[in-house]
């Protein structure tokens, strides 16, 4: 609960683009007031704790045209007790074509809600200030650092096993969702169409940033043999990567022409470094800076999630030193199946991965396969639209919404669905073997209507 509230407050303190010039201090105080009302929360994040050590004003983002207003505005639903659905007055009628969640197929982790209604949430007339459910770095200069390669950092899985990981962090250890126990995936980088952006990598060990899908030129492509690698020095026991040693700091320059979802990952000894956790997501916003549409004049949404799809093969993380790919890393056989670096029950308690929203809201999930296995996504029977892929709208819309969709390694798809009228369904990500024949394992998340 604690980390959820920190995340919720931090997202209002993250830097906003220069195109906004409104400062809305009232909302910030209101947020602080709510947090203390709810009791079991830490103090609000003090100013100055965001990524570049300055206090940015809280900006009001007006909702898009077809966005329904969240009756539960401003309240992060994971703060409610599990299994309890606070009543919402004045629900709109079921939109045409809306499918109600299947009954009895996917048992929810918690029993059915109690018949006694929960206390109504404190009314908050202010609209939701941000659609996104994760932290992000950017759009001004983004600074990324690499973490230790010597086996000192771990991420604990749902079974309690600590797995050695390597990661990217923003300055001040900022991470994917403000939770510093989660090193992998790395922080989300946010950019704007047409805006020249600098992403600076600081690394004392050999690493690069490959900006996957952003079609940057060779010098900024992050491939060691064609554009060098970033390192302070080479420890004597590590063979040098191909290419030129760029030094400890390198700034990648790019301008993204297309709004959409992209990835970044290290491209040194890539098969090993990416498995160890050196990857993350880049979101490019439309030119006008709106955060509630996928692209200019494109589909709108009320809430937005990122699901980074990947697995771990724990043998690869315990292979000892020196950490260089070779026969010790033969035959990738995953044994942990994740969304956003969490597996098992940890997904259900992760506010960035388990979806909670009001009935009728439009929800976008940016599906990003940062792993090695084909992933089939199913939203518990909720049909969804597949709208964009690899940073481009589909050339023509699919004729129907779908029940399942495969995301292959390296691909991204932006999908959208409407929240059911009530209840909870279990979404699943089934990871297939590379032949596409068998399901090796699954990651389950929940979609809960407020």
């Amino acid at each position: 609960m604690k980390k959820t509230l920190n995340h919720w407050l931090l997202k209002y303190l993250s830097p906003e683009p220069d195109s906004y010039n409104k400062v809305n201090l009232d909302k910030r105080f209101l947020l602080a007031g709510i947090s203390s009302l709810l009791g079991a929360c830490t103090a609000p994040q003090p100013p100055g704790k965001d990524e570049d050590n300055s206090t940015k004003p809280v900006e009001y983002v007006p909702p898009g045209e077809n966005v329904s207003v969240d009756q539960n505005q401003g309240i992060d639903c994971t703060l409610c007790a599990p299994g309890v659905n606070p009543p919402i007055g004045g629900l709109p009628g079921t939109p045409p074509g809306q499918q109600s969640p299947p009954v009895g197929t996917n048992p929810a982790p918690n029993p059915a809600p109690s018949p006694a209604p929960a206390p109504a949430p404190t009314p908050n007339p202010a609209p939701d200030l941000s659609t996104q459910t994760y932290q992000s770095l950017g759009p001004e200069a983004v600074n990324i650092e690499t973490s230790d390669m010597m086996g000192n950092l771990t991420q604990t899985m749902a079974d309690g096993v600590p797995i050695t990981v390597w990661g990217f962090t923003g300055l001040n250890n900022s991470s994917f969702n403000g939770d510093t126990t989660r090193l992998c995936p790395g922080p989300v980088i946010e950019m704007f169409e047409g805006q020249a952006t600098t992403i600076t990598l600081i690394s004392t060990r050999p690493h690069t940033l490959h900006l996957h899908g952003l079609d940057v030129d060779q010098a900024n492509d992050g491939v060691p043999s064609t554009s060098g690698y970033v390192t302070r020095m080479l420890p004597p026991f590590l063979p040098p990567p191909p290419g030129i040693n760029l030094g400890e700091v390198f700034s990648y320059q790019l301008t993204a022409p297309h709004a959409g979802t992209y990835m970044y990952h290290c491209h040194v000894d890539t098969v090993l470094h990416m498995e160890m956790g050196m990857s993350g997501t880049i979101v490019v916003r439309p030119r006008d800076g709106r955060k509630d549409i996928l692209y200019t004049n494109g589909p709108a949404f009320d809430r937005e999630y990122i699901w980074q799809l990947h697995t771990f093969d724990s043998k690869w993380h315990t292979n000892g030193l020196p950490p260089v790919s070779g026969s010790g890393y033969l035959r990738y056989t995953p044994d942990y199946f994740m969304i956003n670096g969490r597996d098992g029950a940890d997904i259900l308690s992760d506010s960035a991965s388990s979806i909670v929203a009001a009935a009728g809201q439009q929800i976008v999930i940016r599906l990003v396969n940062i792993g090695y296995m084909p992933a089939v996504v199913n939203l518990g029977g909720i049909l969804f639209e597949v709208l964009c892929s690899d940073g481009r709208p589909l050339k023509s819309p699919l004729p129907n919404r779908v029940n399942d969709w495969m995301v292959a390694p390296g691909e991204r798809y932006d999908v959208r669905f409407v929240m059911p009228q009530s209840g909870q369904v279990m979404a699943s990500v089934n990871y297939l073997d590379i032949r596409g024949l068998n399901i090796l394992g699954s990651a389950l998340s929940s979609i809960t209507t407020l």
């Binding site: 060779q218 010098a219 498995e275 070779g326 026969s327 890393y329 035959r331 699919l398 390694p409």
Partner: protein, 324 residues
């Protein structure tokens, strides 16, 4: 005059060269359909891996086809051609057949020492894969597969007939994927039973080559005959043919490419991609528009173990786009 003579004399002019990592095939532009004959032998070939290990493989060998480490005979024909394949089975202990999904299905299989003629008409333009189906997946695991490309009659520099300008190209490449699990090859070599459910490859090939041979020559210099060589503002057709058993999500550095055909069907929806999935037996014809972006950019599967050889990065099917 058979097709090989056409190539030697250049009669009718060379319309476009199909290049496959170090291998060039000239294709004449004929005014009308012809009968094209291929003589293939299914035989054992010991394939050196990284110059040391040698794997027993099975290959369809065409004695007249140019070969630079390639595993297969590259078949390129015109729409409407009658294709005749004379196959001889020189495998010591296994049957073999010749199937081309979309053109020739449920073919007869033949025992060792026998021969069989397969005949079909190349009706629909696009890329196809041919392979042995008499041993279920083992034929492909051992290397019995190859690409077949049908060029439209109206324009050999287009993906299909009456193609829009975006689906025409200046150059075309065939890129065929295969992979091998040495435990399978070694079991076949020793005459032991084979369990294909365990197939989990550690060797990966494009047109029979693994990195660095997919990019560099023997002296370690980037070889312009091996890279995907492109000019500014050109359209480059990349025909992905999956002759193997695993998924290949092919990721482009530097560019997005457009999916034109998936198994000869025009793709209407998921078109502009930086990562294009090619499933086993699937053929995906794509066009990359180079524009003004020059330089060196890798092209490789994002199943990153496929960019290794025996676990070591870099290896496997790592390709390079070179725009000059």
């Amino acid at each position: 005059m058979d097709r090989r003579d056409f190539l030697k004399t250049g009669l009718g002019g060379i319309a476009s060269a199909i290049l496959t990592t170090g291998l060039t095939i000239a294709v004449p532009n004929r005014a009308q359909a012809a009968t094209v004959v291929f003589n293939l032998t299914a035989q054992e070939v010991f394939k050196p891996i990284l110059g040391t290990t040698s794997l027993l493989t099975w290959q369809f060998v065409d004695a007249t086809a140019p070969s630079l480490g390639n595993l297969q005979s590259n078949m390129v024909v015109n729409q409407g051609d009658t294709v005749v394949v004379n196959l001889v089975n020189n495998l010591p202990a296994h049957p073999v057949s010749f199937t081309v999904p979309g053109l020739l299905n449920a073919p007869a299989s033949i025992p060792p020492g026998s021969s069989q003629t397969y005949e079909f008409v190349a009706e629909k333009p696009g890329s196809y894969v041919y392979y042995d189906d008499a041993n279920l997946q083992l034929g492909r695991a051992m290397g019995l597969a190859g690409p077949l490309v049908v060029l439209p009659m109206d324009n050999p520099n287009a993906i299909y007939s009456n193609a829009e300008p975006d689906h025409q190209f200046d150059k075309q490449y065939i890129l065929m994927f295969q992979e091998m699990d040495s435990r399978i090859n070694n079991a076949v070599a020793a005459g032991l039973p084979v369990d294909m459910t365990l197939f989990n490859p550690e060797y990966f090939f494009v047109n029979g080559l693994s990195y660095p041979d997919t990019i560099y020559n023997a002296a370690g210099v980037i070889d312009d005959n091996k890279v995907i060589l492109m000019g500014a503002n050109q359209n480059i057709a990349l025909r992905f043919v999956n002759g193997g058993l695993i998924y290949y999500p092919m990721h482009f550095h530097g560019y997005h490419a457009n999916v034109v055909l998936r198994d000869r069907i025009l793709e209407q929806h998921v078109v502009e991609k930086d990562t294009i999935l090619v499933k086993p037996n699937e053929c995906v014809d794509t066009i990359l528009s180079v524009g003004s972006q020059l330089g060196l950019y890798p092209l490789h599967t994002h199943y990153l173990p496929g960019v290794t050889t025996n676990g070591k990065y870099a290896g496997g099917g790592l390709l390079m786009l070179k725009a000059i």
